[in-house]
Symmetry: none
Subunit: 412 residues, 2 copies
C-alpha cells in the first residue's frame, strides 16, 4: 500500500506553524508498513487542493490529510474532495446538533458558515472528533482512499489512531504489533546507548527511541503474518529492554506519568499534598490532569514568595533567611509542613531557581525536592539547564518521577 501525506493550510505555507502532523503520520504509517513517498503542503485554495489530490492519486492509493475542516470559508478540504470524486455535499443534522449545542452552551449564536462542519461528501464515512467540533471523514472509492482529519494535533492524533488505522488495517498484508516503553529521568542518547547493540542487531522487531517532553519513549515494533506471531517476536525484545533500562522504565503504552502516579496512589491508598515554589502550580496542575485525582490530592500551595512560605506553611522566617529559599532546609520544611497542615500521607516540596536572573550565588536551574512520608523527609538536589520554563517543566517532571518511584517501592 502506498500513501501520501497532504497538509492543508495557508498558515503552513506562511511558516506560522511547524508541520508536526506530517512527521507523526509518516512515522506511524512507516510502522504500519505503509510506504510514503511524498508529503505535500498546500494552502486554502480549491484549485491547488484539487491539483494536489490529482497528483497524489497518480502515485498512491491513500491520501492522509490534515487541516481545512473548520468552520471558516477557507476550510475547503471536504468540498474539494466532493468535487474530485464527483459527489454532492450532504448536510448531517445529527452531526450539526451537538455543534450547535456547543455554541449555545457558550451563549453564542453559531455563524452560518459553522454549518460547514456538518457537510460531508455523499457516501463518505464520518469520523467523530471527541476533542473538537469539526469531525473528519473517510472516502473509499474504486481503490482510492482518503482520510480527512482536523489540523490541530490533539484532534488529529486520536482520530488517526482510533478511526483511520482500523480502516487501513484490512489492506495491509502483514500485521504490526508495537509496544511503547516510557522512560523518565534519562536522556535519549543514554537510552540509545544502553540499547545500541539490540537496535543494530534487530530487523524484526525494530526498535526506535523518541525524545518527548521530559521523557523518552522506546517503541518496539514487530511484524508477522498473524498477531500471535508478531507478539511472539515482541516479547523477548521487550524483556531485553527491561533488563537494560531497569526502573528507568516507569510504564508502558499510553498512560502518562501523572496517570501512572494516580494508578499507584490508588493502589497503595495514599493521599498527597504539594507545596511548590518555582514550578508555580505546574506540578499540582499535572496531577489534576487525571480525572479522579481529588480522592488523593488533598491540596496544593504555591508559596511563591518568602512571605508566602512563612504565611502558608509557618516556616520560620529566620530559617529561610539563614539557608535561603532554595535549600535543603527550606524544602524539608515545605514538604513536612504541607503534609502535616493538610493531613496528607505524603507531602511534596519543590523549590529552585528558574532564572533568568535569581540568586547570584546559586546557579540558575538548581532545584531542591523534598518528600515527607511516614513522619520522615528525604530530599534530593538536581541542576537542570535550559530556559526558565524548561527548567520549571523538568523540575515538575522529575519530582513526579521521584514520587512515583517512592510509592512503587512502598508497594513492592
Amino acid at each position: 500500500m502506498r500513501a501520501e501525506i497532504l497538509s492543508i493550510g495557508t498558515e503552513l505555507l506562511l511558516g506560522d506553524i511547524v508541520n508536526t502532523n506530517a512527521q507523526y503520520l509518516s512515522k506511524r504509517l512507516a510502522e504500519l508498513g505503509v510506504n510514503v513517498y511524498f508529503q505535500a503542503v498546500v494552502g486554502d485554495n480549491p484549485t491547488r487542493i484539487l491539483e494536489a489530490y490529482e497528483q497524489a492519486y497518480q502515485r498512491a492509493d491513500l491520501i492522509v490529510i490534515s487541516g481545512g475542516l473548520g468552520p471558516t470559508e477557507d476550510d475547503l478540504t471536504k468540498e474539494t474532495a466532493g468535487a474530485y470524486f464527483g459527489k454532492g455535499m450532504v448536510f448531517h443534522l445529527d452531526i450539526w446538533e451537538p455543534i450547535a449545542q456547543y455554541y449555545k452552551i457558550r451563549g453564542s449564536k453559531p455563524v452560518e458558515s459553522a454549518k460547514k462542519q456538518a457537510l460531508f461528501p455523499e457516501g463518505s464515512e464520518i469520523l467523530p472528533n471527541p476533542a473538537g467540533t469539526a469531525p473528519g471523514c473517510w472516502i473509499n472509492e474504486d481503490g482510492r482512499m482518503m482520510a480527512m482529519m482536523p489540523g490541530p494535533p490533539r484532534e488529529m492524533i486520536p482520530m488517526f489512531e482510533e478511526q483511520v488505522v482500523p480502516r487501513i488495517q484490512p489492506y495491509l498484508d502483514q500485521t504490526f504489533q508495537s509496544r511503547v516503553l516510557r522512560i523518565c529521568g534519562s536522556g535519549e542518547s543514554n537510552v540509545e546507548d544502553a540499547l545500541r547493540d539490540i537496535i543494530r542487531k534487530q530487523v524484526n522487531p525494530t526498535i526506535a527511541t523518541y525524545a518527548k517532553e521530559g521523557e523518552v519513549h522506546v517503541r518496539v515494533t514487530a511484524r508477522g503474518s498473524t498477531q500471535e506471531e508478531a507478539e511472539g517476536l515482541l516479547q523477548p525484545v521487550i524483556e531485553a529492554c527491561h533488563q537494560r533500562l531497569g526502573d528507568l522504565i516507569y510504564g508502558e503504552g499510553l498512560k502518562s506519568l501523572e496517570e501512572t502516579v494516580f494508578y499507584y496512589l490508588n493502589k497503595c491508598n495514599k493521599t498527597i499534598a504539594v507545596a511548590e515554589s518555582l514550578t508555580g502550580g505546574m506540578l499540582t496542575a499535572r496531577l489534576v490532569n487525571v480525572p479522579g485525582m481529588s480522592t488523593f490530592l488533598l491540596e496544593g500551595l504555591v508559596p511563591y514568595t518568602n512571605r508566602a512560605k512563612v504565611r502558608q506553611l509557618g516556616i520560620p522566617r529566620e530559617l529561610i533567611e539563614k539557608h535561603g529559599p532554595v535549600s535543603e532546609e527550606t524544602v524539608t520544611q515545605m514538604a513536612s509542613a504541607v503534609a502535616s497542615l493538610s493531613g496528607a500521607d505524603i507531602g511534596i516540596g519543590v523549590t529552585g531557581w528558574a532564572g533568568p536572573s535569581d540568586d547570584p550565588e546559586q546557579p540558575v536551574g538548581l532545584i531542591w525536592m523534598g518528600l515527607t512520608m511516614n513522619g520522615s523527609t528525604k530530599t534530593r538536589k538536581i541542576i537542570f539547564s535550559g530556559d526558565r520554563n524548561r527548567i520549571r517543566f523538568f523540575a515538575a517532571n522529575m519530582t513526579l518521577c521521584w514520587l512515583l518511584k517512592t510509592i512503587k517501592e512502598q508497594i513492592e
Copy 2:
C-alpha cells in the same frame, strides 16, 4: 515571484525528523514577498526527485531545496538537477581540496563517494558552506531558478540568508509589512464574522485569522514598493480591526497573554494572589511563566477539596455545603479570602467542574470566576465544552483575559 519549497530526504518521509526547514523558508520567503503555494517532501530517489522538479516548475519560478547534498550514494539533489537541466556534472578541484583537508585533519581517509560534494551541474554557481562540508549551488536558467542547500538547519540557514536571499532580491519589486493582533475570549469564527466584509474587500492588505490555543490571531499583511507605503496601507486596516473587535484584542505582536498581564500589573503596580480549584495550579503556573512575576504574584493556593477550601481559606463549611463548591458564593469567598490572607491588591478565585463526572446537578464545564479588588468582589459564570483538560485550560485562560481587562480599566 512564485517559489516552492522542496525538502529531500528519506528521514523526513519516515518521520524521523520534523521539517523545520520548510517552516523557516516559508516564513522568510513570505517576509520577502515571495509567494509559496506548495511545499513538498520527497525521498532520496532520482525518479521521484526529477518528478518533483518537473511538477514544481509547472507552477513556480524558483525551487528552494534543502537536503541531499551529502557524500553518500543516496544524496542525489545536484545530480538530478543536472539531469533535469540537461547539464553534465563538473568536478571542482578547488572545492574538493578543503573537503579532503577536512577529512585529513580528522585523521580519516575520505571515501570515494565524498568527492560527490565537489561535483556540480555545469554552469551552476557554487554556494560556500562555512558551517559544514557540502557546499550548495544555484542555477538560473531561462527564468527557472533553483537553490540547493544542505539539510542541517545550522548549515542551511546561513547559506539561505547570505547566498540565496541576495540572488532572489533582484527579482523582488515589493516589500511586505505585517502585524498580528491577538484576541482572547472569542472563537475564530466570531472574529472572522466581525471582519468578514473587510476580509472579503481587501486585496492589499490581506487579512487572515488563525486559531491558537485559547486565542485567535489576526494577521494583516500589506505590500508596497517601499516600507513606508506598506506601513501606510496597514494602518487603516489595523484601526478598522480595532473598531470591530474592541477590547477582544488584548495585544499585538509576540507578547503572550500572561506577559501582557505582567506588563499591566507593573504599570498599575498591583499585587495579586490566586485561589484555584479545578484549574489545579494552571492559572498560577501561567503567571509564573513570566520572569519577574514574583514582584506581583504573592502566592497561589490550590484548595482542590472542600476540606482544603475550609483549611486554606477559612470558608465556612456550611456555606460550601449549602451552595456547593462550584457557586457564586464559594468563588466570592475564594477570591476575597486569598486577597485578604495574602495581603494582595487583587484576589482571584476560580472553581468549576472539569469532568468527566462531577456533580450530577450541574453541567461539566461550568466555571465560576471571582475577582476581588479595592474591597469588592465581582463574579462571572461561563460554561465551556470539551474534555477535562480543555475545560481547565480555557478556564485559566478566560480568567487571565478577565483579569487583564480589569487591570487595563484601572489604568484608563
